[in-house]
């Protein structure tokens, strides 16, 4: 990312704004209640206004005094720098005092507390700007502080709660729970006492054999000294894979799945990407829907479909092949479902990579006599390697975090993401759940860090290849046909799976009675429709702040230079690398008591959605901003517009199309969220995705399929509307919808 241009400091001409904020802070702190009685957001304690508290508590009195002082400073005529410095000192004191007051009282936060703290934060920002310590516009500096506060509160605090809960049990620091959980065979066991063979020895033997073989082969190829290192690495990798294959437990299941699914999805995604760019057959036009598929698939749909087609009474296994088998219940079934779900993600990443391949290199190779078949391993593969690594790691993270598929098709076997859920829901052991969560977090963060280091942090691949004038070589005929037939088979499988869910929604009992019936759809009344309405409403509520906050943070991180910029960027992206169940349990641990009591309200669900989808919004914003020339903003600044005005009137309209697609994307992602909200639902606030799970678990497969079908159709409608709308809004950037 290029270095941001510092916005030159302005005279803070609109002084009334500072005074206004200060007055608002004073008013809120004194007149609005600081406490609520319970969970309900409207249950304000009338006697807890700042004025009432001030008589009993010196802290409260201090807060009011500081607020009054800020008003005075805001209107006092004097040199701007010293006013700014005074404002910073006072406002910081205000934040600290308010925080202490809230913490000591321990009651759930009321509006007075919230507005007061935010007000003080804003004043700190304004002061930092006026005093010249931060070389930014007051609006932006306040925005930075707000963004930092929100990110700390709703991303870092929950994650910290998870890590702390794994070692802080009953008020003391102990690794007892940690050790017990990690040494349990349900977590990981290599040499199981119940089996006859010695798995550890076996894995070591496999590693040894592979090491020797690799060493011999490499030495024959003339690697010399490095053959030894290659052999060692090969042996270690083989031993690790063998250990994964032979072992037991949640860690083994999740890791094995991540590795296998990552490899297979990346391979398929690469093949499809090559097809879509280089194929000469008409099948490449079917590739369009492929990229949209992961968006519109609610969770559990693929799982239900797998059950329907490949379960014990599945259509393919039982009806057609006549076997009644369990083989798909467990890691194998989950692997198939995940490959189907995540290949489109790998495809999206690799399409950009393939498009960016420099065709002139291939042309050069061709003029030197290379056949198209020779080009693939010698020219294309090395160029695409970093992109392939990127795709592999992304899919690995998604696989590790996957919750929906293991729950439906996992056959009751343990996986890390589901064990977090069962540890809390089944055993109520938040410390055990936190241990699983911490392990999962460590894994995904490691993968995320690897990915950032190797690929430099570009998840969202923009479609801007530099034309070199050379045309890319089409695939050799035999390869084209082979890959296209794989793709056609793939699409048929996908259609079959989705189709089975739609069919299951209107048949009486899958596996027994295939007569057509609308009873399942009728049975959705009233609970199913009610839940769907709630989901749509909450997702809509979450979509707008998601995009706004994401856009703001994207702008700050891309265009403004301030201390802690990298930290803010990293923390905002953290929720991308955090599995949903971990974030979910973090929210429960962090917001279940004390001043921050939020569980059981709609607000906490909306917040979970917002901060979960933020990284996507940030990435989209950054991509859009990089296409907008900074000279436009400079012109606006030169004409004395503040940053707020510039953002609103200059930048936002130009990024309109990206904002809209970000909005729809955030909405769709919220509609299909399950793992991070499954701990936060209540009888009044139940969501469609968790309702599908309930239906499945309590035997109403038909109703589950019906609700899933309705949800899918709704999402298809939303995405299609976006396609239509964005084309009319801005034909130039219509391609942005591919994200």
């Amino acid at each position: 990312m290029a270095r941001a241009v510092a916005v030159p400091q302005l005279r803070w001409a609109a002084q009334p704004a500072t005074a206004g904020w200060a007055a608002l802070t004073l008013l809120a702190a004194s007149a609005l209640p600081w406490s609520r009685t319970g969970r309900d957001l409207g249950s304000w304690v009338a006697e807890s206004t700042g004025l009432a508290l001030a008589s009993g508590s010196s802290l409260a009195a201090g807060v009011l005094l500081v607020a009054a002082a800020t008003v005075v400073v805001a209107v006092w005529p004097g040199p701007e720098r010293s006013r700014g410095a005074a404002l910073v000192a006072l406002a910081l004191a205000g934040v600290v005092l308010s925080g202490l007051l809230v913490a000591l009282r321990g009651t759930p936060l009321g509006p007075g507390a919230v507005v007061a703290v935010l007000g003080f934060l804003t004043l700190t920002g304004v002061g930092l700007s006026s005093s010249g310590w931060w070389f930014v516009d007051p609006f932006l500096s306040a925005a930075v502080l707000w963004a930092a506060a929100f990110v700390m509160l709703f991303i870092l605090l929950p994650l910290a709660s998870v890590v702390v809960a794994s070692v802080w049990v009953d008020g003391r620091l102990t690794t007892e729970v940690l050790q017990r959980t990690l040494s349990s065979p349900a977590f990981f066991a290599l040499d199981h006492p119940g089996t006859a063979r010695n798995e550890l020895l076996l894995a070591a033997q496999v590693g040894g054999v592979v090491a020797v073989l690799t060493g011999v082969v490499l030495w024959r190829l003339g690697w010399g000294q490095r053959a030894l290192r290659g052999a060692a690495l090969g042996g270690l990798a083989a031993a690790a894979l063998a250990a994964l294959y032979l072992g037991f437990g949640a860690l083994r299941n999740s890791l094995l799945l991540a590795v296998v699914v990552g490899a297979v999805s990346t391979g398929l995604g690469f093949a499809f990407a090559l097809l879509s760019e280089r194929s000469q057959l008409p099948t490449r036009r079917l590739m369009g829907p492929l990229s949209v598929l992961p968006l519109i698939t609610p969770p559990f749909v693929l799982g239900i479909a797998m059950l329907y087609l490949f379960g014990r009474r599945g259509f393919v296994t039982h009806r057609l092949l006549g076997v009644s088998t369990d083989v798909f219940f467990g890691p194998l079934g989950v692997a198939v479902a995940q490959v189907l779900a995540y290949t489109p993600i790998a495809y999206l990443v690799l399409v950009g990579v393939v498009r960016a391949l420099d065709a002139s290199l291939e042309e050069a190779a061709q003029t030197l006599g290379a056949s198209p078949g020779y080009l693939l391993p010698t020219v294309i593969w090395p160029l695409a390697r970093p992109g392939l690594a990127n795709a592999f790691l992304l899919v690995a993270i998604e696989s590790l975090a996957d919750f929906a598929n293991p729950i439906v098709v996992g056959g009751g076997k343990p996986f890390l993401a589901t064990e977090v859920f069962f540890a809390i829901v089944g055993r109520y052991n938040p410390h055990e759940a936190a241990t699983y969560g911490a392990v999962l977090l460590a894994l995904t963060l490691t993968v995320f860090a690897l990915q950032q280091r190797w690929v430099g942090g570009a998840f969202y691949v923009t479609v801007t290849g530099r034309p070199t004038g050379a045309r890319p070589q089409p695939l050799p005929g035999w390869l084209d046909w082979a890959a296209s037939s794989v793709f056609v088979l793939w699409m048929l499988l996908v259609v079959l799976l989705y189709g089975s869910v739609f069919v299951g929604a209107v048949t009486r009992l899958w596996g027994f009675d295939y007569t057509f019936t609308l009873r399942h759809l009728q049975d959705l009344h009233p609970q199913g429709w009610h839940v769907l309405r709630t989901t749509v409403r909450l997702s809509a509520y979450a979509a707008v702040p998601s995009v706004l906050v994401g856009f703001l943070i994207g702008y700050l991180v891309n265009r403004v230079n301030f201390p802690g910029r990298r930290a803010l960027e990293f923390s905002s992206m953290l929720s991308f690398a955090t599995p949903g169940t971990v974030m979910g349990i973090g929210y429960v641990l962090a917001f279940n008591q004390g001043p921050l009591l939020l569980t059981g309200t709609e607000l906490v669900i909306v917040l979970a959605f917002v901060f979960r989808n933020m990284p996507v919004a940030i990435r989209a914003a950054v991509a859009a901003l990089e296409q907008i020339d900074r000279s436009l903003e400079e012109a606006s600044t030169v004409l004395r517009a503040g940053a707020g005005l510039t953002l609103r009137r200059v930048v936002a309209p130009l990024a309109r199309s990206a904002l809209l697609s970000g909005l729809v994307f955030a909405f769709v992602r919220a509609m299909t969220a399950v793992s991070q909200v499954i701990f936060l639902i209540t009888p009044q606030h139940n969501l469609a995705t968790t309702q599908i799970l309930s239906y499945l678990e309590y035997g109403s497969q038909g109703r589950g399929a019906a609700l899933a079908s309705v949800l899918t159709l709704l999402l298809v409608a939303v995405v299609l509307t976006l396609q239509l709308f964005s084309r009319r809004l801005d034909p130039r950037t219509a391609q942005l919808g591919a994200g």
Partner: protein, 341 residues
Amino acid sequence: MTVRKAWLLLAGLLLLLPASSGAGPAQRVVVLCSPNPAWCDAIKEEFPKATGIALDYVRLSSGEGLARLRAERRNPSFDVWFGGTGDPHMVAFEEGLTEAYRPKSWNDLRPELREAVAGKYIPLYAGILGWALNERVLRERNAPVPRTWKDLADPRYRGLVAYPNPNTSGTGYTMLATLVQLYGEREAFDLLKRIHRNVAEYTRSGAAPGQLTGRGEVAVGITFIHDAVDQVLKGFPISYGAPRDGTGYEIGGLSLVKGGPNRAAAITFIEWALTPEAQRLGPEKGQSYQIPSNSKTPIPPVAPRFEAFRVIKYDFVKYGSAAVRDRLVKRWTDEVFPLPK
């Protein structure tokens, strides 16, 4: 300009979306509901008609319900725990999550049930543990009809057995405790390890094995017999029974949550739930065929009777204590669950 108007319109529309959770009627009771979801729906409909108080419920199986109550200890959102096997109710009482309440109809409740629970919760119903059998699947696989618990270890039942996971289901724990009381802990766990090889799936809820059997996915689903009766009445081709070497039973619980938000409404609910009219909802609308605890309530004709099966003398107090329960469940999770099949 039109785009700006569109944004404003969108914002306006969003604000107008009706909030679904309004304040509602003044009084409400929040119920943690553990039995069949149909029964939960039935009480949600009938209780307001009888008393004018609105009812909200969350359906959680008994193990999960206990977990939820523990999680919300400091700020309970539930008022009453309705139904579910008794052992978790016992644990909840022991941990101070529920309080003892003596309803007005105490003397109408069946004395054997009252004594067994020793005042730690209010008995709501009684149900016998057993299994649902799909004889067609058994014939397809040439497996005989099982007669005792030990029969289930026979390799001919490979992949044909399902029972609930004791971590989440009270039914599963009842099975565990029954085996321990029948054979002693060491032999019971040996048996469970051998049965494990035949298990197709450990289900999350107690009624699910019956559903799996009904769908023909397994041949033997260990569940409470009244859940199997429900499947038969729904038209599934299964039969039911219980092991001949002895079987356990449950005494479904009704508990007043300590510190719940609507205590008065909760007490009204408890009194109502024990009346014959309310208990009749179980078989009539709730698809539940347990033996009701109020002796004045007529026993549903299809309900499995104690006289027909060999039921052990289940020590509810011992096996309902948190220490014993947690230890047995943990032992099962560590020793039986991770075994390869």
